[in-house]
């Protein structure tokens, strides 16, 4: 049995490992093969995820209460700020809608923080784990995956907290179609993973990346209707609507809002471009986000795979 096949993957057995650059076919194989890779290394993924999460609370007094306390406090702050302090445009709204602005912000803030956290922590994940990359042979794409999964898990604590609050307290009368949650988590995860793969690779070669990503994330947050609502701001925004719709994060937060809040009925007499939270729009939002996700994943992972062989030399 003479194996003349060439492989650039780690742990070669009987296959020649050579200096030639990664071929396009291999990149495609890797793009498709990621789920299998994750399954093969499931124990590693699971252990790292558990380690990542418990490391955050290791040695703290509240321990695992922290991931629940954090979003609750955040929720309380938004609720207070947006219902009591900020009166601007919302002033014109009827009392019932005004009171719900806190919920509206919260439902977007939870997925947005997961995205921002993944980008912030994920961009440096390869460089920070240089010690592992240089000394151990393992699929390094699992490092950014781990960051994304950890952020998503934290996000689910927030989502869970909201759902419980909606079901058992008068804060919000009824949650929306919650069955969309798993779909949303997967699509958002893929979208963010693609970006993190791209930026963590870039960070290896260009250490300014993390600074740029940090700034861009802040700008992006204000361009995304997290703290504002294009619909509620009224007719002035109409010319900008295509731009807003071109933002994948708009679709992400809109899908989450509709999923968690259900249809929000706009009272008659209030002039809006489009009702802010519409359950019927969820498939459209998720669909657009999924296209973006496939794009970032393909681009990010391809860049990662092409550059992977040089990680150990650069970190």
């Amino acid at each position: 049995m003479s194996t003349e096949t060439e492989s650039t993957l780690a742990e070669p057995s009987g296959a020649w490992v050579s200096a030639r650059p990664t071929r396009m076919v291999e990149v495609l194989q890797r793009l498709v093969g990621l789920p299998f890779l994750v399954r093969e290394h499931w124990d590693l993924v699971r252990t790292s995820l558990r380690r990542d999460l418990s490391a955050r609370f290791q040695g703290t007094i509240l321990g695992w209460a922290w991931p629940i306390v954090q979003p609750l406090v955040m929720f309380a702050i938004y609720f207070f700020i947006f219902t009591e302090l900020l009166q601007q445009k919302i002033r014109d709204l009827p009392e019932n809608l005004k009171a719900l602005m806190g919920v509206y912000m919260f439902c977007a803030m939870v997925p947005w923080s997961a995205l921002a956290e993944s980008l912030g922590r994920g961009t440096t994940v390869i460089v920070d784990n240089g010690n592992l990359i240089k000394k151990l042979v393992f699929p390094s794409e699992l490092l950014p995956l781990n960051t994304v999964l950890a952020s998503l898990t934290m996000m689910l604590f927030g989502v869970g907290g909201f759902v419980l609050a909606a079901l058992f307290t008068p804060v919000w009368p009824r949650p929306g179609p919650l069955y969309w949650i798993p779909v949303l988590v997967v699509v958002q995860g893929l979208f963010v993973y693609g970006m993190v793969l791209f930026f963590s690779t870039l960070q290896v070669f260009l250490r300014d990346t993390i600074q740029l990503v940090g700034m861009a994330t802040t700008v992006w947050m204000f361009l995304t209707p997290v703290f504002w609502s294009p619909e509620l701001l009224g007719k002035d925004l109409e010319p900008y609507l295509p731009m807003i719709h071109a933002n994948p994060a708009y679709h992400m937060v809109s899908a989450w809002r509709a999923t968690l809040m259900g249809d929000v009925v706009v009272p008659s007499g209030v002039e809006v471009l489009h009702p802010a939270v519409v359950v019927a729009d969820i498939p459209w939002h998720i669909g657009v986000l999924a296209l973006w996700a496939l794009g970032t994943y393909a681009l990010g992972y391809a860049f990662f795979v092409f550059s992977q062989r040089r990680f150990a030399d650069e970190v």
């Binding site: 009987g14 380690r51 990359i133």
Partner: protein, 424 residues
Amino acid sequence: MTSYAVEAEKLGKAYRSYGRPLRRVGEWLTLGRYKGHHEFWALRGIDLALPRGSSLGLCGANGAGKSTLLKVLSGTTAPTEGRYRIQGRAASLLELGAGFHMDFTGRANIVMNGVMMGFSRRELEKKSPEIIEFAELGSYIDEPVRTYSSGMGLRLAFAIAASVDPDVLIIDEVFAVGDMYFQKKCVDRIYDFKKRNRTIIFCSHSLYEIRQFCDLALWLERGEPRALADSIFVTNEYAAFQRQHIGAIEEAVRAAHPPVPGLDQKRPEDMPSIVDARIYRLGTDEECYQVATGDSIEIRVWWKNPRPSETPIQIGIAFMRGDMTTCGGHATHFQGLELAGPAGCLVLRAPNLRLLAGQFLVPVVLFDGEGVHRYQDYLMPQNLVVRAYTKEVGLFRLDLAFEERELALPAPAKPVSAASSTRA
């Protein structure tokens, strides 16, 4: 199916160095037309073919490329040219404890470290008791690794790594750390691997270790292979090379013996001198400078002395190792020999040369009649290279031998009482 466990063809690794990050951006923007980096070859032209069950030791100075080769073969860094392949499962121990998480217990780290190495959790749960026993951490296994001493951390790390049972084991100088007891455990484990016909690639600054563990040795110098052969041969060559400081030795010889006073005022053609000096196999005319311990050689020195009555002479021959150790000095006046006449040939016979491996300089010194002042120092055209095809260490093979006898333990000596010792 090839019988080689590890093969490499023209393997090389170059690192790129960019003076400043902007140069890299420049390369990207010009699509590589602008070259902002320079390449440094850490490794080049490595050809290997290791049969299953063999063991290869790497020796060479710091920065010779030993670690780079191990990194390339273990797959953590990609080669820049050439190719290699490994049959079977390879495990590398490049650094003990890479990936330990300080806030978690030793037990948790076994699982976390193990899955990084490609084990499944189930495998690890099965192996855990064995690992814990080998690491000898006792109740500390359930304490955070942060609280461990460095020795304990190393024990745990090695225990995890040692539980891997790979076909090819790649180790980077891990024995340099830890206490003697720990080192012994590691060494035992490595021997165990060898016994089970596993292939080992191993790097060490200790030539002794390489001789002990390895059948083959590769001597690297500035990233290039200088010798790849039997480990005893290569380590000897390397040791000899390390000891080479010819100029320093000449200086030392001159300093030890002051020149005859007023030598420069005398006419050179009247002065005694050494015409030639060479080393031969004993009793033959075969010149030889590469010998083995136990070989028989003779050194012939041709001299002339136009005015023997005015300038009586003596001749000394020394064996000096490159690190300036004089391993033996022989002179005619020690033996009361007289070198009479205007010319002659002096022979120093050395049947059964006892020198062990090394490279030796053989300076020949022409003394005055008293053996104090020097007329001339003459250096042999080549150094004498001795190869030892055994694992003996030291300078000489002494006339010693082991044997086993069935003897009773001697009666214990009377203990010295405390009172008498204080009085003394």
